[in-house]
Symmetry: C2
Subunit: 108 residues, 2 copies
């Protein structure tokens, strides 16, 4: 959980249709955690939410964030194709209105 693999970081921000709906939030957290627990490829698996108080320069409008690291771009591709990932998308994609994904390879 705490190991951060600097080869490949996959960062996702989710904006919910109903960000204040507690049932939606609980369902999403459960579904995402199940996926990450069952992924054969995800290393770091961090699920976050914005702090209540945010500085002006910070975009605190998202509902959830996800940071997952991998040993390689190939491992990240395998994670995209994993059955647990597809289950998560099926279970949860109706909850969000927008997603932004950023992939990064470590420079060192």
């Amino acid at each position: 959980m705490r190991e951060f693999d600097p080869h490949f970081a996959h960062t996702v921000f989710f904006w919910f249709k109903n960000p204040d709906n507690q049932e939606d939030r609980a369902a999403f957290e459960k579904s995402l955690q199940k996926f990450l627990d069952n992924s054969a490829y995800a290393k770091t698996s961090f699920i976050g939410r914005p702090p209540k108080a945010s500085r002006d320069v910070v975009d605190g409008s998202f509902t959830y964030s996800l940071i997952v690291t991998f040993e390689s771009a190939e491992a990240q591709q395998k994670y995209q194709d994993e059955a647990p990932h597809k289950v998560f998308i099926e279970e949860s994609s109706h909850l969000w209105a927008k997603v932004i994904v950023y992939d990064s390879m470590g420079v060192q």
Copy 2:
């Protein structure tokens, strides 16, 4: 470097004015690495760049990414105010046209 603290993740994406300028890139990497090496508060310190080939749903338009974790929101605030951070901003802020910052607290 590899320790990921799930309490607070600070994620920054930088879009350069001249993303193909190798001198700008080298100066930025050196300046940012110096800051992170001298920070008393940053835990994980990951500097990334987009993979060459990206999937359609991924925003690969940024020049550099930064992922830094902290033991608390208070530690992140102290990092904002550190002298090495101010030096980094002074040295490097002319290089970027746009920055997006997302802060996240771990849900668990």
